[in-house]
């Protein structure tokens, strides 16, 4: 078995070899390297053709029209474009936006920026399951609400929000609905002919495509308007300028096509591995599953090991690449804001590990992971005074710590 074992597929995935192979056809001199905006020669036309095909492949996975796909440099840009684009276009209609405390930073930081620009943002609290109570969402809606932005699958705890139901509500109220689907595309079926979603963000590198590539779905019927955030050249029907990175786009298209073809069987395999991992850890003392098990993406397992500090555990697990939460916030040592929003206390939030399983994970790797995690958790607990006190039956929450 090759070490370290990669169990951080929610942070990013390796490019599928089939995807890499396609991408390589659009780079060097003996290949189709042209600028798709070049209308005067075959190099440009070939590149444009490749972009068209990829647009169809992406649209197919989510049952959309290819004309509804806008290429971006990644889901962060898609989220920024969707939220700022709507806010700046529809600000005369209203300045209120609703989102949730457990959204990705790309949504939260964008909303913070809009607050600085004079918008009013409501940050909903999720239930302990990690899901939004649709009644509370409805209660938060106002006459001047122009946008609801909620993620489909949470990046840390993997819970799947009922987007279809929320879409019915937002549409009936005439509010635009944006969904960050970076973690759900290719893992959860998405049908945009059925779901009443107006804008949806996608990332390539979360489903075995390249980094630096994403897309924004922009509904045509009813038509959603956006104010462009990047200017110059008027690519992507004026919504997003900049030379199209053909090899990246081709990679995203191929990745989405593979996902469409293999999602059902792959999900089944990954679910079995995930359940095996949980069964291997579940019987340990003071271990908690974060996020409801009833509505969870197959590859995610977020576990709190009480009385163990998450970052120490990650360091101890040097043969296993996992994270204590989102990669985008892992430079900070604060406990996960997602777990805290779920009502987990700081200690449990601090002791959490996100295992995310993917296409290239093997059963051997899971077996090995179970034994290492058990060993290291026990070792760290043996060194912990708090664990010792807990074992002695002392209720730590009742202790009054002396100040120094």
């Amino acid at each position: 078995m090759k070490l370290p074992i990669y169990l951080d597929y929610s942070a990013t995935t390796p490019v599928d070899p089939r995807v890499a192979e396609k991408m390589c056809e659009y780079l060097t001199i003996d290949q189709k390297f042209g600028n798709p905006a070049s209308r005067s020669h075959k190099f440009g036309w070939d590149a444009d053709e490749a972009v068209k095909k990829a647009r169809q492949q992406v649209a197919d996975l989510i049952n959309a029209d290819p004309k509804e796909i806008v290429w971006t440099s990644g889901a962060t840009e898609s989220d920024n474009l969707a939220i700022k684009g709507v806010a700046h276009f529809y600000h005369k209609k209203g300045k209120h936006i609703i989102t949730c405390k457990t959204e990705h930073k790309a949504v939260l930081d964008t909303c913070r920026q809009l607050e600085r620009e004079g918008f009013d943002v409501t940050y909903l609290d999720p239930e302990a399951t990690g899901l939004i109570d649709i009644k509370k969402l409805e209660a938060a809606m106002r006459d001047d609400t122009i946008l609801v932005s909620l993620m489909h699958v949470n990046n840390e705890i993997g819970v799947i929000q009922d987007i279809a139901a929320i879409g019915e509500l937002t549409r009936s109220k005439g509010i635009i609905f944006h969904v960050d689907a970076a973690q759900s595309a290719g893992k959860v079926p998405i049908d945009l002919k059925e779901m009443k979603v107006d804008l949806m963000s996608f990332s390539a590198h979360k489903i075995y495509g390249p980094k630096g590539m994403g897309a924004l779905y922009v509904r045509r019927k009813p038509r959603i308007r956006l104010e462009a955030q990047m200017h110059g050249g008027g690519h992507e029907r004026g919504m997003r300028s900049g030379t199209l990175a053909v090899h990246q786009i081709v990679g995203m298209g191929e990745a989405f096509q593979i996902a469409q073809q293999e999602m059902a069987t792959e999900n089944e395999r990954i679910r079995m591995l995930r359940d095996k991992l949980w069964n291997g850890l579940d019987d340990m003392e003071e271990v908690y599953l974060n996020g409801t098990a009833d509505s969870k993406v197959t590859g995610n397992l977020n576990v709190s090991f009480n009385f163990v500090e998450g970052e120490s555990l990650i360091m101890a697990l040097k043969d296993i690449a996992v994270s204590s939460g989102s990669a985008c916030t892992s430079a900070s040592l604060e406990p996960s804001y997602v777990l805290r929003a779920l009502g987990r206390n700081d200690e449990l939030a601090h002791s959490s590990i996100r295992f995310s399983i993917g296409r290239f994970t093997t059963e051997d790797e899971i077996d090995h992971t179970i034994s290492i995690v058990r060993e290291k958790v026990n070792k760290l607990r043996d060194l912990s005074v708090l664990w010792e006190m807990h074992k002695d039956g002392i209720d730590l929450s009742k202790i009054e710590w002396a100040a120094h």
Binding site: Y6, L27, V107, S241
Partner: protein, 389 residues
């Protein structure tokens, strides 16, 4: 045969070789704290040094973006927002990614345009005139270092101090200049400078903004705080690594590449000059070594009818020759080049314009074929006219 290297370049095979491991083997998210994530982070830092070296900047001055367009947008919007400016000045021949940003500002701030002379630079515009055009409240002044259509090189090192002396900030779009001429951020005295990878034999979808940290730069993309909060979003590791390698190759081979491109272009222009009525734009000023933008003088040719550039390049395309009538980014539009209009070129001549931009893989034999094809088309013009009449 590809003669459109100012639109995009094929990627160098060594660049591809550097990138591949970062797609399939070292693929972790550089923000992840585990060892694989840290390896990806190190790769980015290495590339940052390589890109900094290309333009003699410090690695901490490099912000990676999704390309030249984003870097230009970030430079202008970020500087204006961060420095609290309410005025933008651009050159008359800027790339659409600067021009369109300026257009989007027009409704709520003062936007001025600096004219160019007949050669496409500020050289022929008097110092006094520039000074009076720039007088007034502090602005960000955005001037491209080398024009994508004509290849005309603006003497930024000369102009920047003059502009800054009036209390303004200076951004230069060096997307076309990098790899084809010396770009030295430290001695240019500009505040912000834009680079793109796919114009220097690197991958598409990655670029950089080089900035002086005296500039309080506002961010355009929010969420995650990557690139020291100046540009959020998971880093495109493989492309950044490719950009780094391309920058290193461009720096190492600059003199050799420039002289090779110059030889090709001289050979081409010598032959082109023998054709009747050909005008080479920006011929009398310093130009990028690889670029020839030319048109037909309608008065000496075909009874004033001239030739339509679009028609010419379609004919060339049928013979497997790729050239363009101007910027790829504007090639869906049918207006004559805004660059030529700003230089005072007549509309008819501007409509006949063809841009040939050479690359490292072009050969003299290819140029011979290109010349033959252009010649055949020009000779056809009188007959085309008879048919039309």
């Amino acid at each position: 045969m590809y003669f459109d290297h100012n639109a995009s370049t094929p990627m160098h095979s060594e660049v591809l070789a550097e990138m591949m491991p970062y797609l399939q083997h070292c693929y972790a998210n550089p923000s992840s704290v585990h060892s694989q994530g840290r390896m990806a982070r190190e790769a980015i830092n290495y590339a940052r040094q390589q890109v900094a070296d290309l333009v003699n900047a410090h690695p901490s001055q490099v912000i990676f973006t999704s390309g030249g367009t984003e870097a230009n947008n970030l430079a202008i919007k970020g500087c204006i927002q961060g420095m609290g400016l309410s005025r933008l000045v651009i050159g008359a021949t800027e790339h659409p990614s600067v021009k369109d940003v300026a257009a989007s500002f027009e409704s709520f701030m003062q936007v001025d345009t600096l004219p160019v002379d007949s050669q496409g630079t500020l050289e022929g515009i008097g110092n006094g005139e520039i000074e009076s055009l720039l007088s007034g409240q502090p602005a960000l002044v955005s001037l491209m270092m080398a024009n994508n259509e004509t290849g005309a090189i603006q003497n930024i090192a000369d102009i920047a101090p003059q502009i800054k002396a009036q209390g303004h900030f200076v951004h230069t779009d060096a997307v076309q200049a990098a790899g084809k001429t010396v770009v030295d951020f430290a001695s240019l005295d500009v505040d912000l400078l834009t680079l793109s990878a796919h114009k220097i034999y690197g991958p598409k979808g990655v670029g950089a903004l080089i900035f002086d940290k005296k500039i309080d730069l506002g961010a355009m993309l929010h969420g995650g705080g990557q690139e020291k909060k100046y540009r959020s979003g998971t880093e495109n590791v493989a492309a950044i690594v490719g950009f780094g390698k391309a920058a290193e190759l461009a720096r190492q081979n600059l003199i050799e590449n420039v002289s090779r491109l110059k030889r090709l272009r001289e050979y081409f222009e010598q032959k082109l000059g023998m054709l009747p009525g050909v005008i080479i734009f920006s011929e009398k000023t310093a130009r990028l070594p690889n670029t020839t933008f030319f048109g037909m003088d309608t008065s000496t040719n075909t009874n004033g009818r001239g030739i339509d550039g679009e028609t010419l390049l379609m004919h060339l395309d049928t013979q497997g020759i790729a050239v363009t009538s101007g910027s790829a980014c504007a090639s869906t539009r049918l207006q004559p080049s805004h660059v030529l209009m700003a230089m005072g070129v007549g509309e008819q001549t501007a409509r006949s314009a063809i841009r040939v931009s050479f690359g490292l893989q072009n050969t003299k034999a290819e140029i011979d074929q290109l010349i033959d094809a252009i010649k055949a088309q020009i000779e056809m013009i009188p007959y085309l006219e008879i048919v039309e009449n």
